[in-house]
């Protein structure tokens, strides 16, 4: 062997693409093989749906079949679990030697987080499909046309993307995998303070304020409207604004945190 082998160059668009694709491939592979996390992020929302539809649902008056009311909320709850797993995966990379290895390779730093975010979106797409299919089995009867399905899927995709970047940012600042899991609590809790499970007008005044002005409610109302025909009103635009705003803020913030953490 010789050490005088010609070195490949490390700049250019093609290499940037390779870096990103390689990191995405790695993260998807790791996600697929981390069976416990994958099962949990699908099983928990399913259990919650069973619980709400068959246990609490009978006592909650939403003016419609409860299963039709609750599905969008369960889908967003599901994303929360998926994003928590992303925060933990990023934290795992950041707190083990992996990040040092990656950083001593001549690659773009952004590829590290992008890999996790894309894997997160893929995992959420899978779990959402499973949850919606299960809901149909349980009596969920959406009345959406194809275009409405597409719009709902598009909005959810945007929301998942924003939440995944947010989770990636949490993973970067977390000091350990456990603390990343603890930090993601907010993403698991927020859906309960929204219109996901009960109409906000049944809540005490101050909670209603939180519920009506947090990002999850307009996203849920829009998805619910698109799928089951409830009125959407201004929620569509508000949801879109929240999601794009969150996406821009979270991705910028995560990238900034990543550079800062690595600049010691």
């Amino acid at each position: 062997m010789t050490t005088l082998q010609a070195r490949p160059t490390h700049t250019g668009l093609g290499n940037a693409l390779t870096d990103h694709l390689t990191m995405i491939g790695r993260c998807v592979r790791l996600t697929r093989r981390n069976t416990e996390t994958l099962i949990m992020s699908i099983a928990l929302p399913l259990l919650m749906m069973l619980l709400f539809v068959y246990v609490f649902g009978g006592a909650i008056n939403t003016g419609t079949q409860y299963v039709n009311y609750v599905v969008p909320g369960i889908v967003l709850l599901c994303t929360g679990y998926g994003a928590a797993a992303t925060a933990m995966a990023v934290a795992n990379d950041m707190t083990t030697g992996v990040i040092d290895r990656l950083r001593t390779l001549p690659i773009r730093g952004s590829a590290v987080l992008t890999g996790h975010v894309v894997a997160s979106v893929a995992r959420n797409a899978l779990s959402t499909t499973i949850v919606v299919t299960a809901a149909v089995v349980m009596g969920f009867r959406p009345r959406a046309a194809f275009a409405e399905w597409l719009l709902a899927a598009g909005l959810l995709l945007l929301y998942v993307l924003a939440l995944s970047w947010f989770a990636a940012g949490l993973g970067v600042i977390a000091k350990s995998v456990e603390s990343a899991s603890a930090l993601s609590f907010v993403m698991l809790f927020l859906p309960y303070l929204s219109s996901a499970f009960v109409p906000p007008h049944t809540m005490p005044r101050f909670l209603r304020g939180i519920s009506e002005h947090q990002p999850i409610t307009p996203v849920i109302e829009t998805v619910r409207g698109l799928l089951t025909g409830t009125p959407i009103g201004a929620n569509g635009w508000i949801a879109l604004l929240w999601c794009t705003g969150l996406l821009a803020a979270a991705s910028t913030f995560a990238a900034w945190l990543f550079r800062r953490r690595n600049a010691v």
Binding site: M1, T2, T3, Q5, R7, P8, T9, H10, N15, T18, D19, T22, M23, G25, R26, R29, L30, R33, N34, T95, T96, G97, V98, D100, R101, L102, R103, T104, L105, P106, I107, K175, N262, A263, V264
Partner: protein, 343 residues
């Protein structure tokens, strides 16, 4: 640029080119000074060992040389490139095997290697070929398609090193490469290092095992309180401690303490024992024994031996050698997760 001139001067003055050179590196985390002016140079194709007790700044030095941490002051060049101004060029010429094995447990050995090959921009087929070569070389062929979580500690460490070699780097940094390995895995690791050096690669390693430095290193530098306390070839460094060491054993702690004061000698790792530099002659032994007899301190045992790196360590740090079981307590309050010696 004054520094550039200084580097060039060193580069041409030495017979063999210097591939790693640092001048006046300093680094603090909060109020804790980790490095306080570290100078070192490593010649191409040699093994350089950085020694020091926990918290001496070994890992921080490695992190600066591998572009992971910016120094507060001072300059460092690796393979001809400045680590702060040209980090990408440095990264193209080096590899790092850190204290923590940087392997993905949920990927197979082959996948771990292929990912690094792709990130080194070898291209798919070349990355896969390189993975096969390295799996063969590090005796991992049978485990190639098993997930790393099923590997033993030695196998993980070998895979970790293999991942550092995907790109045939000019300089390989190994931060405590054999810590926690069983003796057989350690020997395998040492063989791998020797093979690399034989092929012309430069190795910079840190170790807590002075025996490791003794066996592998051409030159050593002993870090103490953020500075290089002593450096040079292992023989030259040992010679600075004195030709021989005289060990004296006593029967009571009281005698040991009195003798230590009388002879200005240090306690060794063994209980009730003192070690002091000696020229190895009978005359010196007589001299010491006479002094003890006059003071009325009975001596139980006496022996001489050539100094080891442990003696160098004790002489220059004034503390216990890192191989002794009774280590200084770890500094648990660290300013950042990358502060010195988390392990």
């Amino acid at each position: 640029m004054r520094m550039t001139y200084a580097f060039k001067r060193t580069y041409y003055a030495l017979g063999e080119p210097v591939i790693v050179e640092a001048e006046g590196l300093t680094k603090s985390y909060g109020t804790t000074t980790v490095l306080d002016g570290v100078d070192l140079h490593v010649r191409r194709g040699t093994v350089f060992a950085l020694l020091g007790p926990n918290g001496a700044g070994k890992t921080t030095t490695i992190r600066i040389l591998t572009t992971l941490t910016r120094p507060d002051a001072g300059t460092a060049r690796v393979a001809g490139h400045d680590v702060v101004r040209e980090p990408t060029k440095v990264r193209g010429a080096i590899s790092l095997t850190g204290q923590f094995a940087a392997v993905d447990d949920q990927q197979t050995g082959r996948e771990n290697l292929t990912v690094v090959g792709r990130l080194m921009h070898l291209g798919g087929p070349a990355a896969r070929r390189r993975a096969v070569d390295l799996l063969d070389r590090f005796d991992l062929r049978d485990a190639a398609d098993r997930r790393v979580k099923t590997y033993s500690g030695g196998m993980r460490r070998r895979l970790d090193l293999a991942m550092s070699l995907v790109s045939t780097p000019e300089v390989i940094f190994l931060d405590e490469p054999t810590t926690g390995l069983d003796p057989v895995s350690r020997t395998t690791m040492w063989d791998a290092v020797r093979d690399l050096v034989a092929a012309g690669t430069t190795i910079v390693l840190t170790t807590q095992y002075l025996e490791e430095a003794d066996r592998l290193a051409d030159t050593v530098a002993l870090l103490h309180e953020g500075r290089v306390a002593v450096s040079g070839s292992t023989d030259a460094v040992k010679a600075r401690v004195g030709g021989h060491r005289l060990d004296l054993g006593f029967t009571t702690d009281h005698d040991t303490t009195r003798a230590a004061a009388l002879l200005s000698a240090r306690r060794t790792d063994a209980p009730l024992a003192l070690g002091l530099p000696s020229d190895g002659t009978a005359t010196h032994q007589h001299h010491v024994l006479d002094a003890l007899r006059t003071a009325g301190i009975p001596v139980a045992t006496i022996s001489t031996h050539r100094p080891t790196l442990d003696d160098v360590f004790i002489a220059f740090t004034g503390g216990q050698s890192p191989t002794s079981p009774d280590q200084a307590p770890l500094d648990l309050v660290t300013a950042t997760p990358y502060a010195e010696d988390l392990a």
